[in-house]
């Protein structure tokens, strides 16, 4: 349904000294994947891996440096204002922090009506009906209409955020850490809600998260990002047996109830995105590093049609 092709996003940093070389931060560094209708595609990685940037490029909140986001074969970054507005009805984004996602000065009703007004949908009465239906869908009722965000709990806010995203009946929703700020019990409520809504409205989700437990539970397919690149991608069961050394380390660092698991603790930290190592970006931390990893960039290997990995170990 949506195809991301060779996406790059560079930010240029101002020079520190007049004659110094201009540095650039490579936030997204050649990302390609396809989203299929009705699936939940997970994008995981540590901070600075470029997962959120990728999400914001897809909804065109920011423009890519190069590469394409194709919707039904058309490049969304080349859309004119009118086409973009139509596109915006089909794709929505839900952010992490339910406290920052709602305008504190507006009532729930205003917040839910806003998208309908922007897109001039229905008259006042039709809008009201749609708003109330949507509230019911996310497990709230009419009594919330006149409330302000500060009167709601974190879970209720996130429900309102989801209602506001779905009221335009989009086909595709980017969920950027949408449940990370919530308590476990509320998080479970919201995850169940998202699943139910997905069924009802036949939604496609791009689920961006750093919480591997949630991603492994919630997603159909997963792509693992490291320093702006997808290092491994496959169905969720493919990734139960991860192949890339980074994915292995990442998944084994999930703290579990078993204390004496022989986890591979990665040494060091993620290098800065303004100084990505040459060759394989992971070679500075990889336990299986070889000489060629330091110079040669590994290519993408298809282990199966679904499961791809970018590592010299599989040459």
């Amino acid at each position: 349904m949506i195809e991301v092709k060779n996406l790059y996003k560079y930010y240029h940093m101002p020079r520190k000294k007049f004659f110094s070389k201009e540095t650039s931060i490579k936030a997204v560094n050649g990302v390609s994947f396809t989203l299929r209708k009705g699936e939940t595609f997970g994008l995981v990685g540590e901070s600075g891996s470029g997962k959120s940037t990728t999400g914001e490029i897809i909804v065109q909140l920011i423009k890519q440096t190069s590469g394409q986001v194709l919707y039904k074969g058309k490049d969304v970054s080349k859309f004119n204002a009118l086409q973009l507005k139509v596109w915006r009805r089909k794709v929505q984004i839900v952010f992490q922090d339910p406290y920052a996602s709602l305008n504190p000065k507006k009532t729930v009703q205003w917040i839910l009506r806003e998208p309908l007004i922007i897109h001039k949908i229905g008259n006042r009465r039709e809008q009201d009906k749609r708003i109330i239906d949507m509230l019911h869908d996310v497990g709230l009722d009419e009594s919330f209409l006149k409330r302000y965000p500060h009167e709601l709990s974190g879970g209720q806010r996130q429900r309102v955020v989801i209602a506001a995203a779905l009221i335009l009946h989009p086909e595709f929703v980017v969920i950027d850490e949408g449940v990370s700020a919530l308590d476990v019990s509320v998080q479970a409520q919201i995850l169940n809600l998202l699943k139910a809504l997905q069924k009802k409205y036949r939604l496609t989700y791009l689920f961006i998260s750093h919480d591997l437990n949630v991603v492994q539970y919630f997603c159909d397919r997963i792509a693992v990002m490291y320093l702006g690149e997808i290092v491994e991608m496959g169905t969720v069961s493919d990734l139960d047996e991860p192949k890339h050394p980074y994915t292995k380390a990442l998944f084994s660092s999930i703290p579990t109830r078993d204390v004496n698991t022989s986890e591979t603790v990665l040494s060091g930290e993620v290098p800065s995105a303004s100084a990505i190592p040459e060759g394989c970006p992971f070679h500075t931390r990889c336990p299986f590093v070889q000489e060629r990893c330091k110079h040669e960039k590994p290519v993408k290997h298809e282990l199966t049609t679904e499961h791809t990995v970018r590592c010299h170990l599989y040459d």
């Binding site: 909140l61 915006r88 984004i93 992490q96 920052a100 996602s101 998208p115 922007i118 897109h119 335009l168």
Partner: protein, 271 residues
């Protein structure tokens, strides 16, 4: 987080002073004890008495009446020049803060250029190039406050722009105008209000200063600043003239300052 919306004492004092002065201005529109410009040569520099509560000036004009009429000028100049400053400040600050990039650079360099001159000097320059009078005083004082407003509005815009609800609205297809007026503006009203209130007192002080120098409001329009100047030669013989005029200006400035501080305190408490 658990503070009740309790207003501070300074806020109340400020509000009371400003309300009283405003009331005085309203009354003066319909009634003053004497005609402010009527000279009574037989009662020059009369001491405050029941007849003339604040006494009379060197031409035998009733000081209370002139004070009351002068408050009209003070409020007129205060409100108009704050509006002028706010209007241009908002335009520049909003563009700079919302769009960022080279537009921000351009706007801010312009503001820097304005700030390079001390405000009051800028006002004096503008007035000497054009001519003294209420209209030009307003414009000059308005220009003087543009940089402050522009900077406050710019930074509030940049801060609010970061919030996810602005991003989310954008992702829903909202245009810039919608985002500025529906999302950003309602959330930055209070810092603007504080800045406007504080700027009001600054403007009144500046107007008094300009008029004292003879550059501001011209006769026959009454002005507190000019009254102060007129009172100066009689500081020994008729001290009440100076004291009353000075007190009035001080009260007005103090009132607005307390009010502004009070609003700010409240807003700090809320966040």
């Amino acid at each position: 987080m658990m503070m009740k919306r309790r207003k501070s004492i300074p806020f109340h004092i400020g509000l009371t002073i400003v309300m009283l002065l405003f009331l005085m201005m309203l009354i003066s529109l319909f009634y003053t004890p004497y005609d402010p410009n009527m000279m009574q040569t037989n009662a020059r520099l009369a001491k405050p008495s029941l007849e003339h509560l604040f006494g009379t000036d060197n031409f035998g004009r009733d000081i209370l009446s002139r004070m009351m009429q002068g408050s009209q000028t003070a409020f007129l100049i205060g409100i108009s020049s704050v509006s002028v400053g706010l209007f241009f400040g908002f335009l520049i600050g909003a563009c700079a803060g919302y769009f960022g990039g080279w537009i921000d650079e351009l706007c801010m360099r312009f503001i820097d250029a304005l700030m390079a001159f001390p405000g009051i000097l800028l006002a004096i320059m503008l007035i000497t190039v054009f001519e003294p009078g209420i209209k030009n005083t307003i414009l000059a004082l308005g220009m003087m406050s543009v940089p402050t407003f522009a900077r406050i509005i710019r930074s509030s815009f940049m801060q609010t722009k970061q919030f996810d609800y602005v991003k989310a609205s954008k992702a829903k297809g909202a245009g810039s105008i919608h985002i500025i007026f529906k999302h950003i503006l309602p959330n930055i009203v209070s810092p603007i209000l504080v800045a406007a209130t504080l700027s009001f007192s600054g403007t009144i002080l500046a107007e008094a200063g300009l008029s004292y120098l003879g550059l501001g409001v011209q006769p026959p329009d009454p002005s507190w600043g000019r009254m102060l100047k007129e009172a100066q030669p009689y500081i020994a013989t008729a001290p009440w003239y100076v004291i009353i005029t000075g007190t009035m200006i001080t009260l007005m400035v103090l009132g607005f300052n307390l009010l502004g501080d009070g609003i700010r305190d409240q807003q700090d408490k809320k966040s």
